[in-house]
Symmetry: C2
Subunit: 497 residues, 2 copies
């Protein structure tokens, strides 16, 4: 019974209790016990006798003198999984009473079987629909505003997204701004770039049918886009934006080229690694004064942990097969499930450094065109830009919680029975690098993507605005100067692995 | 890497793929491969090359010539977990725009801190409310109709349940019949006792605040009651009945007496064991012709598995502590989380024999009054009536899937490294019995509850109407005569353990 990942899985669940201690003892915010998350993994049994003396503190969750979070909230879309289940969507729309459906897709997906099946299903049930096929990969605020302008006059009573993350994210935003037609676009955009207002009203039903196994957007309340006016990647995130139902039909991901399997799968890999290692929810500040302000990206918690670790294990097992054999339908199907599980995990825990650093990597690309992507412009696929820093990132974050990093290394097949805690980062970093190399066709660092040390300053500046995710990064300094130095080291180390 | 529970956990997730095979090969329904669920756990890699030849079958999910299910659907309430989070509910109600809240509770809970905190929270936010405190333990149709009659004229725009499973279940039904005021009570009751109509319309928001760590009702769309006119336990189950939000506040379960901790925890134990061992979803018949008819109790699936196994592990670890030490707040808190996780598991997979057999055990009780229950009438607590058959049940079901039963035995701490598959049932049965004995104050069989072999015929007759759960029982015969014989053996073996 000393198998470490079991121990960690159990202790992961047992972290529920840490929250009790976190709120119970009136440490000042600077107490070292609180600034070192790993501390919370070694409770002395004697502390439980002290608990009853502190009940009064427990009874004051909204007490503003307590800075840190004391609760977590899990929300996820309903998920249907089955090969061919796309064909049910006409009945679903009829069942929810939808009479005018706005179907959202892009020009590539529009030609695929997925869309053909969707349209047949709607027509079979006599559900009226319109199709918006203008979604662009990596949406900008301008392309989203275009989509919203299309949707508003149609007055849909339900939305149906068929495509990858860009399509599903765009559909969420069309839904949002049709329900809030008078709102300024920046009202709901994450602060500090936008006003970050909570979404108070429920939106219209949205059914999402993913055609890639990557973003997990079918389960989350998050939509990501480029805010061109501010030169930054940002987004809108709120539980009310999550789809009503995600229909995960493994037949729909068969059309992905191998290179898309690989980069989508690397997104899944980092979703699970980042949410698994994010700061625990009870370390997040500020404690919300109203539950509607509790962010979806709330830090690791005992329920997100279950999803993140399972998704990591599945990805390690099935992604290499899905990439190498286009006929390996089992592996493809498992990757679609893993993407959804990881979506529930990071959708309720958050991501951190790999994602925060990936946005400038993608947007500051000038020349690199990823192999296997049939486009006529430079592109660093999202998953590639995320994974390229992973070996450096998890070496850096390991000190925050060596046990978790060792459990992750073990998920990659490393024998960790004799690994010391101090080496957890080294071992996990090596495991990730080996995995990326074995996967094939992956750039071995930022240099291979066309960056050199002269670009690092720009990459740092592009990362700093991602405070929403950087806040969840373990080990990262809160002080801007120190934070920039740490990011610099991470980018430098990511030049080559 | 040969640790069996890891292997099983991974293969649990990998069962997603079994569904592909199930629908792909055109076995007649009598094919032995389909009637033996364990068969599906040993796929030969060569089968994947055959998959592509069968895509046409995959593309016909609603083809009535295919009898068995091909998809699963996961739905769960949002879950908030944190000590003191009850106090947030006033803001939650205000956030969803509720202006008239029907608070549902019972006369015992009404006096507890949980209710005091709820009322304070509503009043602080100026939310109007009324209180229905007439819920009775183990509700009957008459008590539910009484509650509905109370609710209808109040015209609530949201419901708030504060209590155990009986309270939360009653609140679900009040909500349902207020949204369908013209419906006959039997319209939505599970067939064959009722008409089993699907619930087409969304209900009003319902927030559930459990005060016991047992039923998991805060996450499920199920409500159970005695249908007195038919002399049977039945219920209503539909995804639309699930609460909008479950607020799991460990402070609210501190008031449970030790005996209630024990029996509620045994309910959690059986929820997780039964859902983990239920037939796989792809063995369930019939394949629904409309997704609205896909039952919530759909058989084990790769997502419910994650919840069920984690809940089992937590229960084994924390229930004994929660029962023995009323000050062990960590264990109590973990049991509340485990109850919720098990709720998501069985709420999407179902329960089977222990629950099916428990209803006549409880209702045909004449004399037994469980120790630690301060009531003046005979009572076999639900958890006790469920767990008393567990040693016999899982010995019987093990042949359907020895690996899963071994993984469960391992969750109880058994070393299974040298256990043969044929002994899986024996080993798990022994583990459960030892656990019950060590927990203390548990009847060692039906005899201790006042039953003898003369009662078995009545117990069998009381179990047969529970087809909704019996359908999910692995190893159980479909033919009535054989089924009765199997139940007879299970009851006989449960007389003493």
């Amino acid at each position: 019974m000393s198998f470490p990942s079991i121990r960690v899985a159990v202790s992961a669940a047992s972290r529920a209790t840490s929250l009790l201690r976190t709120v119970q003892f009136t440490h000042p915010p600077s107490c070292p016990c609180h600034s070192n998350p790993s501390h919370h993994h070694h409770h002395s049994p004697s502390s439980s006798s002290r608990l009853s003396q502190h009940v009064r503190h427990l009874a004051t969750p909204l007490d503003p003198s307590h800075q840190k979070e004391y609760a977590f909230e899990m929300a996820a879309s309903s998920i249907r999984f089955g090969p061919g289940s796309t064909k049910e969507v006409g009945m679903d729309m009829k069942n929810i009473g939808a009479k005018r459906v706005c179907v959202v897709t892009d020009k590539t997906v529009k030609k695929l079987d997925a869309m053909r099946n969707v349209i047949e299903a709607l027509e079979r049930e006599g559900v009226e629909y319109t199709i918006y096929d203008g979604v662009r990969v990596k949406p900008k605020d301008s392309s989203i505003k275009h989509a919203i302008a299309f949707a508003k006059p149609y007055n849909a009573d339900a939305f149906l997204a068929v495509g990858g993350g860009s399509v599903i994210d765009t559909a969420k935003l069309m839904n949002l701004y049709c329900v809030y037609p008078e709102a300024d676009f920046l009202d709901f955009v994450n602060a500090p770039l936008g006003k970050g207002l909570p979404i108070a009203k429920p939106l219209k039903p949205l059914i999402a049918i993913p055609t890639t196994a990557g973003t997990g957007s079918e389960t989350t309340g998050t939509a990501i886009f480029d805010l061109v006016s501010k030169g930054a990647k940002t987004g809108i995130a709120h539980r009310h934006m999550k789809p009503t139902l995600g229909i995960c039909d493994p037949l729909n991901t068969r059309t992905m080229p191998s290179a898309v399997h690989a980069s989508s799968g690397l997104d899944v890999l980092c979703h699970s690694l980042e949410s698994w290692t994010a700061i625990p929810f009870y370390e997040r500040t500020p404690r919300p004064t109203n539950p509607i302000n509790r962010p979806a990206y709330q830090g690791a918690n005992p329920i997100s942990d279950i999803f993140s670790l399972q998704a990591l294990r599945s990805t390690v097992k099935y992604l290499p097969r899905a990439v190498k054999d286009p006929e390996d339908f089992e592996a493809q199907s498992q990757m679609l499930l893993a993407a959804t599980l990881a979506g529930v995990g990071f959708g309720n825990a958050g991501v951190h450094l790999c994602h925060g650093m990936s946005y400038p990597i993608s947007s500051q690309n000038t020349d690199y065109k990823h192999q296997g992507y049939a486009v006529d412009y430079p592109i660093i696929p999202h998953g590639v830009s995320v994974a390229v820093t992973a070996p450096a990132v998890f070496k850096f974050t390991a000190a925050s919680n060596p046990d978790r990093h060792l459990a992750a290394a073990e998920a990659f097949g490393k024998d960790i029975s004799n690994v010391k805690k101090e080496s957890a980062g080294e071992v996990l970093s090596e495991a990730i690098a080996e995995f990326l190399v074995a996967l094939g066709d992956q750039p071995r660092g930022l240099k291979a993507l066309g960056f050199n040390s002269g670009h690092i300053e720009g990459l740092i500046e592009g990362t700093i605005p991602q405070q929403r995710v950087l806040n969840l990064a373990p080990s990262l300094s809160k002080e801007l100067g120190a934070e920039k130095e740490e990011l610099r080291k991470l980018f430098e180390e990511s030049l080559e692995y």
